[in-house]
């Protein structure tokens, strides 16, 4: 005969599980229910023909195309910057730093990982403010500033994923090339990095997901509701998550609301796909590496 409290504990665990499941169903179900019918080519391109929009011959005024291109450029720019810097720092932490220095640097990146995204945006904004005063009055919140800020946001991801993946390489794998006469750099390039590719790749995927999803950073660094397809790095831009936010606060028509649900469904689909991929290829890296506040 099991004690009563054991049943209580078990029951409580199941209730928690169902609560989380219920929450996920409400979020996914509602967005899918309201959005699924509106995910059509017209959602992206409005009344413009897709071909004209892709070639940038006609600007899309009633579709998500400019916002999608904006989000793509943000992701490409930010991850493009964060990947080399994060890889370098991660490799340094895992392979070349020891003792106190390593500990301090790790804490620094832990702190950076914990900085709220709105603060990262605020930092980017103040950098642009200072550039505006010192360099050129033409400078303001723009795509470049947003890319730079998002780079800061996802940098800890890349660093931690790289570091953890490298540190998880088995000691015997680490020693084989060295014992055959390879030097440290050769060992790193030909043995250690290839065997930690999964971890690094999953870190990069999560970084992409973060860039595509984050709203607070771009909210402060130059996102607007109608900028068209970004023409230069110094112009304001549109982005999908901001469009969703904007629609929820001030949609003017049913059509706009439908586009908002379509955008939410697309963003949710993209994020879920990226995260699923990241967790699927990730074996060695612990959740700690992929965790960020």
């Amino acid at each position: 005969m099991k004690p009563f409290w054991a049943w209580l504990v078990r029951g409580f665990c199941w209730i928690s599980g169902f609560w989380l499941f219920f929450g996920a169903i409400v979020v996914v179900g509602y967005v899918a229910w309201r959005g699924i019918l509106h995910v059509t080519p017209a959602l992206l391109f409005g009344s413009v023909s897709p071909w004209d929009a892709l070639l940038n011959r006609v600007s899309v005024l009633n579709g998500l195309w400019p916002a999608t291109v904006g989000t793509l450029s943000l992701v490409l720019g930010a991850v493009g910057l964060a990947a080399p810097l994060g890889l370098a720092a991660g490799i340094y932490l895992a392979e070349f730093s020891r003792g106190r220095i390593k500990e301090i640097l790790t804490v620094f990146f832990d702190v950076l990982a914990g900085v709220p995204s709105v603060l990262v945006g605020l930092f980017g904004f103040s950098v642009s403010l200072i550039l505006h005063k010192t360099v050129s009055p033409r400078f303001g919140p723009c795509l470049l500033v947003a890319v730079f800020s998002l780079m800061i946001l996802v940098l800890p991801y890349v660093i931690r994923a790289t570091q953890t993946a490298l540190e998880a390489v088995a000691p015997h794998t680490r020693l084989v090339a060295l014992s055959l006469g390879a030097d440290r750099i050769q060992n790193l390039l030909w043995v250690l990095l290839p065997s930690s590719l999964r971890g690094i790749a999953s870190g990069l995927l999560l970084a992409i997901g973060r860039c595509a999803e984050d709203t607070a950073v771009i909210l402060l660094t130059g996102v607007v509701i109608s900028a068209g397809v970004p023409r230069s790095l110094l112009d304001p831009f549109e982005a999908l998550p901001f469009y969703i936010f904007y629609v929820s606060t001030q949609y003017a028509s049913q059509e706009e609301l439908n586009r908002g649900f379509g955008a939410a469904l697309i963003l949710l689909g993209v994020s879920v796909t990226l995260y699923t991929l990241a967790y699927t290829i990730q074996r060695l890296v612990g959740h700690w590496a992929l965790y960020r506040a």
Binding site: W14, L20, A24, S126, T276, Y291
Partner: protein, 279 residues
């Protein structure tokens, strides 16, 4: 090669410091006219030169603590199911679900909240617009639960097998092992996960901005409209760059930075002393 890597690491390590320096410097205009203590305890009334951020601090803290209070037991329960209280198939599926949920965009939580939760809260409680602390609390706790669950589940699996086998040999069933052995010995992992989730709840912007109503007042209940530090930053950013109102968002930024970095430091401290005290 080594120098290059070190330079890159240094450049990256400068960033967290640079953020702190920037928010501190840009808040300076405020300290010329007001004392630090007044700013932290005063009320927000920019029309009458009131730039205190006390209401926002209270709201941020209240929202973070209450969403943790909801998310902690739920995460513990879910981690328990994943750990072994549920049949393996269910545990595997739940783990998958939790992993996928960590990827849900915050703005989508907010979006669904605006169209589902806000009207529901308005109907049920028949008070105000429905944009209140309660409406932000539910999605916020749902947002932090998945990462917390994964963290807890990791802490559970890190427990030495011998300990569990010992308990099993003494006749403890899975639930008894979970409550009497697993949870107590994963104490540090649980603490670290909770502290990090606190930082995450504190740093969330979109859910609070979209659902909490944003009135700059000290809330007297969960059905009151309130504004967090993060939402305050997002709302005031459009103000005149020379104004004191604008400088106040950097003060909010500083408070947020200090709180979240304390959380990160504390979590690190707890984590690194893992090996020493398993008891």
């Amino acid at each position: 090669m080594r120098t290059f890597l070190a330079a890159a690491t240094l450049a990256a390590a400068v960033l967290p410091l640079a953020i702190l320096v920037f928010v501190t410097l840009l808040a300076l205009p405020l300290y010329n006219s007001f004392s630090f203590a007044d700013l932290l305890t005063g009320h927000w009334d920019p029309m009458h030169r009131g730039y205190g951020i006390f209401p926002m601090m209270v709201t941020s803290f209240l929202l973070a603590v209450s969403s943790l209070a909801v998310a902690f037991p739920v995460s513990l329960g879910c981690a328990g199911l994943i750990y072994g209280l549920a049949p393996p198939v269910v545990a595997g599926l739940l783990k998958r679900l939790v992993q996928v949920m960590t990827g849900f965009p915050t703005v989508v939580y907010g979006f669904v909240g605006v169209f589902v939760l806000v009207p529901a809260v308005r109907e049920v409680f028949q008070q105000g617009s429905g944009r209140c602390l309660l409406s932000a609390l539910i999605p916020l706790s749902l947002m932090i639960t998945p990462t917390m669950t994964l963290f807890f589940a990791d802490a559970f699996t890190a427990i030495p097998r011998e300990m569990l086998l010992g308990a099993a040999a003494l006749g403890a069933d899975p639930v008894q092992r979970f409550v009497l052995v697993v949870i107590p010995s994963a104490g540090r992992g649980l603490a670290a996960g909770t502290v990090l989730s606190f930082g995450r709840a504190l740093g969330d912007t979109l859910i609070a901005l979209m659902l909490a109503g944003n009135a700059a007042q000290v809330p007297s209940g969960f059905l009151e409209s309130a504004r967090t530090l993060t939402a305050h930053i997002a709302l005031v950013i459009a103000a005149d760059f020379q104004s004191l109102e604008f400088a106040s968002i950097f003060l909010c930024g500083m408070v947020l930075y200090i709180l979240t970095s304390c959380a990160a430091l504390l979590a690190w401290k707890i984590r690194t002393s893992f090996g020493q005290g398993m008891s």
